[in-house]
Symmetry: C2
Amino acid sequence: MNMITPKNLSGFMELSPKDQILFERIKQTLEETYGLYGFYPIDTPVLERSEILLAKTGGDTEKQIYRFSKGDTDMAMRFDLTVPLAKYVAKNYSDLTFPFKRFQIGKVYRGERAQQGRFREFYQADIDIIGDGELSVLNDAEVPSIMYQVFTRLGLSDFTIRLNNRKVLNGLFELYGIQERAADVMRVLDKLEKIGADQVKEELAKLEVTAEAADELLGLLNFQGNSKEILEKLKTFGGRSEKLDLGVSELSDVLYYMEKFGVPEKNFRVDLTIARGLDYYTGTVYETTFNRHPEIGSICSGGRYDNLAEFYTKKKLPGVGMSIGLTRLFYILNEFNYLNRSVAFPADVLVIPMTEDMTSAVEISAQLRASGIRAQIYFEKKKFKHKIGYADKLSIPYALFLGEDELRENKVTLKKLLASEDDAAKQVTVALEEAIAEIRRGTEALLGGKSIQL
Amino acid sequence: MNMITPKNLSGFMELSPKDQILFERIKQTLEETYGLYGFYPIDTPVLERSEILLAKTGGDTEKQIYRFSKGDTDMAMRFDLTVPLAKYVAKNYSDLTFPFKRFQIGKVYRGERAQQGRFREFYQADIDIIGDGELSVLNDAEVPSIMYQVFTRLGLSDFTIRLNNRKVLNGLFELYGIQERAADVMRVLDKLEKIGADQVKEELAKLEVTAEAADELLGLLNFQGNSKEILEKLKTFGGRSEKLDLGVSELSDVLYYMEKFGVPEKNFRVDLTIARGLDYYTGTVYETTFNRHPEIGSICSGGRYDNLAEFYTKKKLPGVGMSIGLTRLFYILNEFNYLNRSVAFPADVLVIPMTEDMTSAVEISAQLRASGIRAQIYFEKKKFKHKIGYADKLSIPYALFLGEDELRENKVTLKKLLASEDDAAKQVTVALEEAIAEIRRGTEALLGGKSIQL
């Protein structure tokens, strides 16, 4: 028979069993944390009608989308979780209660050019709060506070959630009468760090931005200070533009309440250079960076939008949300060796029967599991060394031996496999209850650590 | 702007937020139970090279598969989790440790004719144990025992795991010299219940099965008795076929050890009419039925196979596994109203600020969450009735009011919303710690029940 080489499509992450344990643990922390804030879990199809996914055209979407026909149906694989959310909310509008708080962790698909650390199939982990007609700005403070909790529970501490408000920049643009060239102006301003203030001013002049306006804009964006100082600086523009004033007021509220939500000052700050997608976000915008690895770019972004589902319904559905690119984040953490590998074992104990008959091994394992201990039994007929080698390779922390002697005395022999030097080869023959207590103690110590060690 | 109707592709399940909570809870029970037996979680791509998925041709697979090209690449969406497992094991053979125990819960795709209760995108929940060269028959007892645990933990009790061994029937076929017509003979025998013994004998005669062989076969398949009696009956064939004897011995071991694994007698039995896919399974085979709803067919099936990955590697990789069609199972449980809806609430408490300033609401919610309580805050400016209505619609069991009085006295007012008649409108103003204790007590009572009530 001709063999087919078992290889994957490029750009599709597939983890080793141990890495998968780490990934699932991170995913679980996200689910639990989102759940603590009362968000509903939602699951939408991976495949949708192409007209749904491509309602909003433009950008790279159409080039990158996996689209095909089956029968008469033109369908495509989702490329994010926002469009499916928009469809979901429009479709179920009359059955939903607003504000609608949902999270979704699922795979999305983008046929991008394959390159290291970029994936064509990847998990996104989104939270959004959708209002019906209106939505309090308090939600703009809650969303990044949830993400702060997520990262903290994962074990990250050295990160910064950067905040801006689109109304601030848009207000300024209106003030200078350049709102129609906003996209171009933003593009130039975005180059500030790269090309310096002088060259930026030159390019702004070409866009018919007055020298005075350019100075004010650059003065703001270049301003070095903490969030409060930036707010003070912004307030000096007060009374010149209603939009700008509203943006400053929203930004101020978000900062105030994020602190009340328990986010420490060091983990968030105003960054007026953040704009995000120009045609979507209308208020607060977020980006999150690792302080130690700014080169990675944002690991969690989002913002406030006015109309979630304008292509599917005439209802005005404002919302605010953030998204973690989970597959890429995992890849990075793994590359930098920040993952806590001490939790990557699939069972707490390997039960090793030393007799032909396995009745006791099976019964004792049932008791272990009834006590919440993850137990595997080694059923295969192999040499003893091979059995212990199996536990070692899987990093299972305990082995439990059942030989003639143990069975006769109604005891078990427990060996700690991941023992430190001084209790190496520690092996005790004890009652099952004692073994259970020791396995529980040792396992909890191993599993107690956070997923990320940074 | 032209609106696009927000509708789904037919055959794609998309749940309401409350139903999604129920689904996630069931999925979590599966993950936890598989985990108790030390199985690794695995996640493989939804998209694979078509040559990988279609290595084994035939059947409906090619017609039903979602297959397309992007660039030069011919790819397709997985239609089960077994082929991706085979690819995974062959691809990672040298990095894996055997026996390799893995579970996978994921979506698969089959473009079947759409009909009520049939889905084109559906979750499968698989467990498999793969050996390297050989694999003890004890594993054939462990796998259905795990599934017994899964169903029991979900709340099902009225189900039967039916067992057979392909070597038993194949041994008999060899004995009668009809092994080459095995598929046809099985098809005829399968009609036994429908058309009766006489007509089956007539059709068997056409397949050149001798009258004596037909009598013996029908005598066995028609034999009424419990598992032990069926085994006794099978043993009367002893010594006539090595394969048959081996099958009976394996079946006997599986039955013996399943009992030791704690599966009660009423939940499993030998059923010699079960054959499953003829060209794949080689030993033990399983089907699982709801006793109350035999019309549904099997809700969890599988078996033992000799060569998991024969299309991708020359290694002999025998395995045993079972699969639950989770989406269909959920659909059925929902249709029959067997789901425990009392757990379908996204938050334990709704915090309702009664003042303009929400500082205390935000701070108190942070304390609630730190105590493990799932808390939502109602931020919107709405009438009181609307706020309480929100909690009602989401079935949130508690509301916590924070008015001027409460804030001054450093207390909270807690109202149980899902109150029974006698403690209806029960509302107390207490210290936060007391409120936390009450919310925890009330919520645990609601969440303590199993997912399925049958």
